[in-house]
Amino acid sequence: MPLFAAGISHKNAPLALREQLAADEGKVREILRDLVGGGVLREAVILSTCNRVEVYGVADVPGEARAVAFRHLCRQRGVEVTAVEEVLYTHAEDDAIRHAFRVASSLDSMMIGEPQILGQVKDAFALAQGCEAVGPALHTLFTQAFAVAKRVRTETEIARHAVSVSFAAVELAKKIFARLAGRAVLLVGAGKMSELAAKHLVEQGAFPIYVVNRTWARAQEMARALSGTAVPFEELETALAAVDIVITSTGAPAAVVTRDVVARVVRSRGTRPLFFIDIAVPRDVEPGVDALPAVYRYDIDDLKSVVDANIRERLREAQRAEALVEREVAKLRARLGDVEIIPTIVSLRERLEEIRAGEVRKALARLPAASPETRAAIEALSAGIVNKILHAPITKLRESSRAGAHRSWLAVVHELFGLGRRS
């Protein structure tokens, strides 16, 4: 049952092509029915997101199946087949398993560790199941891919650290204040970026929120959006004394929060930490303030360098994730082999059991006077012979499946025992 994964992704295909080829649910359903119904593929899952369009399939002739599948996709979406074939990649067998695991674990994503892809893979799988395009092989592959993705998520840190400026700021706040619940936040200036950062803080339980802005109306508008309180600009210093986290984003040409002001504020607030998140350019908070005790100040460049460090961290963690994926690929190869040989083993047993039962019946018909002991002995004898005969071929099948070379042996067993067409 040759397994393959073929497609285009952000790695090699331009966005324009990905956009063109990406198909919505209805189209995917149609294509899946055509492909599996037409008998080109025995099983198929189509994953279509803005970053990748991929077909996972099981087919007797993978090369042909791949070509048919993408010809279908291209025709549906009105894309030139040649344009797609230039950038189309194909993974077979172990490489296909590895690819599925890496995609689901977000190791193949544009931003490593991004969380959406797993949901998209799950949706694609559910869609294919709905179209009855999923058989035992892809079922095993995908359920395992979900388990691997979960392990990668919990056992490595590829998704743990913030890769956006606003999340990096929230993460820093959490490293200063253990819990953000009940922390007072002051917004100075009412930009979009500061609103986003403030929303993240509010989600973590930060409360209350104060908004200071030169334009009173805008301050009130922003305060409403965040369920906070607008504070007149003149009361900035009072507000500073009361809060824990300050987000500044004014368009002012010079610093709005000076070192002198913060020095006065710090005296009144003791050693409670004060965290400035300054996302304005030019900066709103004088750089000197972080020399004051328990005052921390991060400007946009500082936050960006934190983000860069976090991305490097994700890349390091990704290497550990790759090793984990590699181990899981080996495990699944063995299981998929079992999936393929089990039906043959079952029909082999049934075939021999049929023969044995028939022969025993005949023998007993000729021995009407046989005692129950004799009958039992005949049953045991015949069962013993069948089991002895079955032992060698079954062992051979299991061994060859573990070595990945079971297909020719399956064919031989079918031929020798007359098991009919294998499915």
Partner: protein
């Protein structure tokens, strides 16, 4: 039997320290599991060693200062394992185990001289036991202070390094040092008072010079000052952490004095 088990314990602690430090920079989960395992092995060997010792001498193994310090180490390791398990701060071992190793080595090289013959009164055991629990709490206090300063430095210098994600938040660490201080201080205080009372009844004077008593008074004053500063003066953060380190240094000198200088606590 006892020295043999004691050595196993020390070797296991040294391994655990190495692994815990490796985990700090290298973050492989299995390194941490090995560190925890080595700590546990060390602690079990240590427990057996103390039990065997207690049977050999027919009483609590607190009669000599090295033995008493060995009990401190035992308490510290137990607390470290419990706290690490409960709080999920997997890097704690990297900060506590070095202290454990230093104390274990120190107690194993010191001459095991029996304490003053006057020991026999139950009060003296209470004096020792209380002082030991106090010291154990201050080992954790010290580890918390070091973690605080490391984390504070990274955040202040805007260069979140390797430890940034793994060390707890500043506020947690600050609360940690406060709690361990508040826990250790009453034990140390009561221990010292009992010691002084005992000294008066046994030797007729509280102030007769004894190096260990002298330095422990210094350490007590530092901790008392820190506690007062925190409770009344609103001290926090770096200042409190620096004091925790100075106080612990005084405690280490105290034990060193007990080990190596002549006085009533040994030699």
């Amino acid at each position: 039997m006892h020295p043999y088990l004691q050595n196993i314990a020390i070797i296991a602690y040294v391994c655990a320290m190495g692994l815990a430090l490796a985990h700090l920079v290298q973050r492989q989960a299995y390194v941490h599991r090995l560190a925890v395992l080595a700590t546990l092995v060390g602690w079990i060997a240590h427990t057996l060693a103390l039990v065997v010792l207690a049977i050999e001498i027919g009483g609590p193994p607190l009669g000599t200062l090295p033995n008493a310090v060995s009990v401190v180490v035992w308490v510290v390791v137990l607390l470290e394992m419990l706290v690490e398990r409960q709080s999920g701060v997997t890097v704690l071992g990297a900060f506590v185990l070095p202290v454990v190793v230093v104390l274990s080595l120190k107690s194993s090289v010191a001459r095991p001289v029996t304490l003053a013959p006057a020991l026999g009164n139950a009060w003296i055991w209470i004096h020792i036991a209380l002082a030991l629990v106090g010291i154990a709490a201050f080992v954790l206090n010290f580890a918390g202070a070091i973690m605080y300063l490391l984390q504070e430095r990274q955040i202040r210098h805007k260069r979140p390094g390797r430890f940034y994600h793994r060390l707890p938040p500043l506020e947690t660490l600050d609360r940690w040092t406060y709690r361990t201080l508040a826990l250790g201080f009453p034990f140390l205080t009561t221990g010292l008072i009992l010691g002084a009372v005992w000294a008066r009844t046994a030797w007729g004077s509280v102030f007769a010079f004894d190096p260990l008593a002298f330095f422990s008074l210094v350490a007590w004053l530092i901790y008392a000052g820190t506690l007062a500063g925190r409770a009344a003066g609103g001290w926090h953060g770096r200042r409190a952490a620096y004091f925790a380190i100075v106080g612990f240094a005084a405690l280490v000198v105290t034990l060193g004095a007990g080990f190596f200088l002549p006085g009533r606590h040994g030699a």
